[in-house]
Assembly symmetry: C2
Amino acid sequence: MTSRPLWFDDLQALMPTAVVTQEAVIAPHLEESRGRFQGACGAFVQPQTVDQVQRLMRFCADRQIPIVPQGGNTGHVGGAVGRADGVLLSLSKLNKIRAVDPIGGTMTVDAGCILQTVQQEADRHDLLFPLSLASEGSCQIGGTLATNAGGVHVVKYGTMRDLVLGLEVVLADGRIVDGLSALAKDNTGYDLKHLFMGSEGTLGVITGAVLKLSQKPTARETALFSCESMDHMLSVFHLFRRHFGDGIEAFEMMPRFGIDLALRHTEGARDPLDHEHAWYGLVDVVAYGPTSDLTDRLMGALTVAIEQGWVKDGVCAQNLTQAQAWWALREGMSAAQKKEGGSVKHDIALPIAQVPAFMTAAAALVLSLCPTARLCTFGHVGDGNIHYNITQPVDMDRAAFMALGAEITPALYDLVASYGGTFSAEHGVGRIKRTELAAYRGGQAYSVMQQIKAQLDPQGIMNPEVLF
Amino acid sequence: MTSRPLWFDDLQALMPTAVVTQEAVIAPHLEESRGRFQGACGAFVQPQTVDQVQRLMRFCADRQIPIVPQGGNTGHVGGAVGRADGVLLSLSKLNKIRAVDPIGGTMTVDAGCILQTVQQEADRHDLLFPLSLASEGSCQIGGTLATNAGGVHVVKYGTMRDLVLGLEVVLADGRIVDGLSALAKDNTGYDLKHLFMGSEGTLGVITGAVLKLSQKPTARETALFSCESMDHMLSVFHLFRRHFGDGIEAFEMMPRFGIDLALRHTEGARDPLDHEHAWYGLVDVVAYGPTSDLTDRLMGALTVAIEQGWVKDGVCAQNLTQAQAWWALREGMSAAQKKEGGSVKHDIALPIAQVPAFMTAAAALVLSLCPTARLCTFGHVGDGNIHYNITQPVDMDRAAFMALGAEITPALYDLVASYGGTFSAEHGVGRIKRTELAAYRGGQAYSVMQQIKAQLDPQGIMNPEVLF
């Protein structure tokens, strides 16, 4: 912040309360959580009203100043990294819950609301906002919208775009698209909200949203089980589909190596089953209403899976503490992996039926390039979404492994594409996957995306270098 | 077809098998189902391949020839009315089911597939394609995509856009956007499919889609009940939400006058309850798995509703025949209304919590303008979507009533807007609601829509006069 841009004083004069200059406040907004990007900023702006955002956008449009919108700064792909020649626009102070409609099951919020705050507010009305992420304590609604966040409940409730009825957006030229509709059905021309959701701040700034709240289940049961193969894991998933339909709230998988890491690096972690197995599944099922036979139904499904030979061992949680301990294993996987050395990570998704064949082919590919690689491939298998993470071999130093990783990644993405999959399931493109976006996004889609970008942000000031 | 456009012979030479000239084949494609629009066409084209569609689009783009895409021609808003100076592009012959993935739960189809064919194919794999409309025997997937169709199952499964994973579109200039992805999660830039869904053929021609299939419920129970007020109807809806969560598959309402019409004009129809009541609710609930206590749970919920005083009388269907008879009353409402004289119809939606207050205000408004109007207001109350239909008074002739209707409609739409509702819930805008689109679509959304239209269809040849 030592050399400020020429326009800084004008901006400060325009909105003195929104322009923040304390370096201690600004510093945490410049570094991305994984430490991969160190940003800068010509000005750090924290508007408290939509009107301020609009005035900021007009100011920047007049002077062609780049704007990088930032939510909770919890992303992994360099999507909210500030620039020395631009404004870093933090939505943190635009953080009010505007309205709750418990009868209609909607909540209207500012973009800067923390996800957990929204979850708690819904709970207060005996309703559920189901989006659930590792970063829910700090990520913001605006960020989850701009990146179409996913997480562990997608198998039942969908991704963030499925949880939204209306959106308020300030465009690059300062126009406000006020689409804060709370309607379940509204066929009146183009659905603009879906264009902004997932656009990673490159088309405008999301300032508010009407969120859909779900009924809160009255029963939730958790099971942990083991499978010898991914084929069996998929068979269990489909058995659960038949038994519970859309009552499956989460269906996650972990490899034995992931369990080993969690046991090694997580305080108080315990091996969940008596013996070691190749793969572990973790499933939550839910039910509604005053009475429930959910425990019996879960036992019943697990019994069938064992009889079929798909499950080697499986347990239903005796209580919430046990369920939480299993979930802590799953949620602790990334942190545990970090303590084990360097990681080469891939956030991929496949058509669900392709997951077993892909996993076999991918392991062969990775091990052919790095024979001692340790595969920590876990994730949301019910959505076909695998965090295909590779952990540094014990016999290789970090730098050598990371260099090798740079060779593995493109080969893996080619393999993913050959199975009809995607190189970005839920984390987005940001700065780090722009090459892949241009390479893999099918047919003419990329050029249409460029046309839309050029039309809505003709000066290219919205989050430059992200996506394109 | 007597005077053909100058370009006709060139087009016929280009695709002789696709250009159809028999008037008997063409005639049914020119009139809209309600008889409100009589179209024409310079050429009637029925491509059998996506390649033919692409060649047609290039041909038309070169010569600035208007193109009107048409599916099953079951719409109500003039969205697929051919023009004498253009091509009427029927997707009827592009009607193959390309692939079914029963494990992944997806079906890839041509746009011209009939909805019912898709439902039946899903059923063959013990899966469900849940979109359900009165016109499902003749409407086509492409049309349901282009209009984001709704129907009776939206309360559980969402509208058509929620049932799609990937989309194949031929743009106005012949470029093909091949987005036939079968992924539950794919965050790679702008979500283009949602832009085309609901765009009513104004941005391109949808030629194929990857549809999401759902698990087929193993139990389905139906109840019919009566309420004295819409407040009570809403209380019942929320009671059912608490008891069944997303196990409510349909939640419909009918007024006594609608029941009267159905009884009068439907062969074999019987009054469902012993006494007459102001409002009737019709609900389907579903469950999954090998065992089910759904009947008991439905009885339980209904009992609570009666104890609370929200329901005056209610019955669970004893068998499928009884359930179907009740559904026939609901589905027969439009046809019965037609036999009673002229109708002024409105396809509106409101935030659900606003429905009771709106219904009171709307009745007062309509009766102030037409004191003997008969209100046949029924529909998908679980989505806040009311078919606000007004039937010709017995003491007024059709022409006078329809003239009065032209005064009632704008006043009603203003009222709808004042309650945060929409003038088009599921039928779309087409030609008949263009004025309303310009008037009510909030803030800058309309101008952004125009920008996108201008960018993707710069010559304005895609379905001119629809939306704009």
